[in-house]
């Protein structure tokens, strides 16, 4: 997985499907670990473990197949992962999750918009701030006052 720099290679060395197969294998193993205590059969009926264990086994088998096929010559390489987008966009969602209860939409809204905007390297700070405030105001109007969703607005000031 390469860094975000402009001179970083477009692709990593590993064939994409080898990674894809390994990911599936890991999921299968993890699932088996999580399901280890659940019986597949429960007296004469199906137990809680049968379907998930079967499915996990099949996922593992398909993972092996994809891995093996990915080792063949001329396969596509793994594309590089970027950090900027996931960090800011998903970080903004996390910020919203943390702030919505204690601080309400008045704070969580602009924060999420402004923070996520930096996921794009062409974002312009002044524009972002104005847009975050206007958009949040519109959302408060729409969701709180028109649709009356029970979302906290400004608990620290209004109490709801």
């Amino acid at each position: 997985m390469a860094t975000d720099g402009p001179d970083a290679p477009r692709t990593a060395r590993i064939p994409r499907d080898v990674v894809a197969g390994m990911v599936l294998l890991l999921i299968a193993i993890g699932a088996w670990f999580g399901l280890r205590d659940l019986p597949a059969f429960d007296k004469s009926a199906i137990g809680p473990g049968l379907l998930p264990k079967t499915v996990a086994t099949l996922i593992g088998a398909l993972g092996l197949m994809i891995l093996a096929l990915g080792l063949g010559a001329g396969r596509e390489r793994l594309e590089r992962f970027s950090f900027r987008g996931p960090l800011f966009v998903l970080g903004a969602v996390g910020l919203f999750a943390v702030t919505i209860r204690p601080l309400g939409l008045v704070v969580a809204g602009p924060l999420a918009v402004a923070f996520s905007a930096f996921g794009d390297r062409n974002s312009r700070p002044f524009e972002v701030v104005v847009f975050a405030i206007v958009l949040s105001a519109l959302c408060i109007l729409l969701f709180k006052y028109i649709l009356r969703l029970p979302i906290p607005l400004a608990p620290f000031y209004l109490g709801y």
Binding site: L38, F81, A97, L105, A112, A114, C139
Partner: protein, 500 residues
Amino acid sequence: MPEFFDNIALGFSVALGMKNLSLCFLGCLIGTLIGVLPGVGPVATISMLLPLTYGGDPIGSLIMLAGIYYGAQYGGSTTAILVNIPGEATSVVTTLDGHQMAKQGRAGAALGMAAIASFFAGTVATLVIAGLAVPLTKFALLFKPADYFALMVLGLMLAVVLARGSIIKAIAMILLGVLMSTIGRDLVTGDERLTFGWNEIDDGIDFAVVAMGVFGFAEILRNLESPEARDVVRQRIGRLLPTAREFAQSIMPIVRGTGLGAFLGLLPGNGAVLAPFASYSIEKKLADDPSRFGRGAIEGVAGPEAANNAGAQTAFIPLLTLGIPPNAVMALMIGAMTIHNLVPGPEILTKQPKLFWGMIASMWLGNLMLLVINLPLVGLWVRLLKVPYRLMFPAIVLFCCIGIYSIGNNPLDVFLTAVFGLVGYILIKLDFEAAPLLLGFVLGRLLEEKLRQAMAISQGSVWTFWDHKIAFGMLTMTGLILIIAALPGTRQRRETTFSD
């Protein structure tokens, strides 16, 4: 036949109520508004607008949601023609000739023909739904748990075969979705499954959380990485009404596309996605001069658009009669119905005839509204297309956050959606499709429930799938489809169908 007209009349009496009519209009308008934005497909549009429908009564909410659905479809075609960016797989075909027409200054005719073709297809599809709903529901009521299980397996297999990309990977995604659906407390025994001791996810993960994560957020991350070359048409839009000659050229493609789409949409596994591709290649083969295709042939817009819209609507049939969503959008519909405590399936028609027929009548009204409101608003859509992505995606993020929070007033859901956004991003990088994952996730719980019921009835004997002839037939078909799909010849043909 009198029953048929009674039902339709009942439907219109519900759909023409002032409130439902305005909700239908609002849904169509907002759906188009968001669907027009480049890089925002129907799934993202619907998952984003889902919270708008939480407040109302079930009928009004579903009418609005259905409106959002065709609105988003229609908006996608507009973007395909004017910007050459398909909002989803099915509008890829529209970009081929539609955008060429736009470059030649005939955007108006392309948009107009797309609207007319969609309206015609929508009308026919609505009649097909109304005609098939009662017999199919009666058939569905005969289904025993074993048959349901087999039908779902068949539907999932069809969805795999009809999708593009690697079959092995698509099957793996379906299975992963099924595995994810087992997370939480087991409904029969009460055992915790795959929670790894984390009590907060005992009730399982909400479908909307998964959908918005792997579709909404992951799509944003993908778009941020590959800045689209946006090619908004600068030429004049031109007259919206196609000429008499263009009409004459398009009539038969529209009729054929409608038939094709209506039939393929009926299949339990997203056949609708094939319809526009199939329509395009048929029209190209039937044309006197095939070389016109790809250079602005109006048949290349009319046929696929009709096929697309017809399929999009008849896809409601498996959902409404059998309770089985054939594609990701319908999976979202299931989620929306669950929020209103409605269980999709044959009971909807038998126990809630008002809701059922009201929704069907509103489908036709929605199509009519789209025809009337969209063409005069073309200027507005063109302006919307110029909204830069750097402003669009933060707005999508905020809408999704508010929507997810409002499902259960639980910040943890918002957080989990971010996690699924990351999962979706990794899946994109590894070339896995998210749609089969969502289908597997939505069907997983039902699949296990029916399997357990079937096995409980048969007291643990697998032979029950042999005894139930419907189930046996469908499982055999599943096996055959898998074998045919794995044959090298079919694999090649499949690739050419999608790349044509």
